[in-house]
Symmetry: C2
Subunit: 209 residues, 2 copies
Amino acid sequence: MNSVTIPKATVARLPLYLHALEILAAEGTCTVSSEMLARRVNVNAAKVRKDLSFLGTHGVRGVGYDSSELGTRIREALGLTRDFGVVIVGIGNLGAALANYDGFGEQRFHIVGLYDADPGTIGSKVGDLVVRDVRHMPADIAENNVEIGIIATPAAVAQEVATQLEQCGVRSILNFAQTVLQVEQADVRRVDLSTELQILGYYLRHDQS
Amino acid sequence: MNSVTIPKATVARLPLYLHALEILAAEGTCTVSSEMLARRVNVNAAKVRKDLSFLGTHGVRGVGYDSSELGTRIREALGLTRDFGVVIVGIGNLGAALANYDGFGEQRFHIVGLYDADPGTIGSKVGDLVVRDVRHMPADIAENNVEIGIIATPAAVAQEVATQLEQCGVRSILNFAQTVLQVEQADVRRVDLSTELQILGYYLRHDQS
């Protein structure tokens, strides 16, 4: 199963299915239909079934999927069965919020380093970690198994940080800075927090909420 | 055109198209093809054309869409041509980061109130606003035109805040707390910041980055 290449669009939906499963589980649901998942992820049920078939899992007609088994399959596909080392660069409010974010640890993302360039921030404690001078970052990354770098710096320095992360061997970058990054090989995802507000805006305007 | 109901899945993709257009514009692109948008939003080109047809806009075969015009159409559909009043409840690191987030103002989302229950936080200044006691929130909302509430509180109090926002007439809620909210009528979107890390995790595991 691991050798199957899952289409990009399906990969992007897997965390949404997992999230929907967690909500449904919190509501006490043990078996989910493709229609239930479809409604929460905003795709049609046929697409849900197609997506989940890439995991080698098929629901029982008229019954659905076992929630717990499906959750395990999605976690396996997403690699959430092993640990990832993560560093956060830029420990302003957003960086500190991300460092304290409960959801990461649950998902086996382990924050192993926090970095900033501001002497007023370096040395302060956020959660269990002390913020280190960004100049130590290359040596730290070489020592630890860091695969993901989160950029939460001002836009003006984000490119410099991205280049450095990539030179240190970090293969995946999550960019919260309001800028477009140029990288050689790394996989970059940009998070624009205003996306969700824009979706809410549509429904407000059209009075459908 | 305003009377056309756009499918939910299309609405959810409109901000992604807008975001892709902004990136392409920053790279100096004036005309975009459905394939260029498709690649950046991870859907197929036929779906892009279908989605954009709901806006009453059609690309020129072999040429594509005028970036600037398409951007205007999407902004109109999302209601980004008028202003929305937003309050943020819970001014810890995440709430403060959201209050300072550059992207909101550009998109016509105006933060008009910041609230917290902690006496140590009430009265502190974040950006241009002073954090107020959450007990003043109902009166403030009644006075101002607040349509969107952002919840950035600890999970334990998020439900209470959501109920209060809804009772005050707030119609849309963006929930950053790690919990599922029960509401009567309001439109709720939950933001799980670990979703993007999970997607990166897939590519790290499958060595495709």
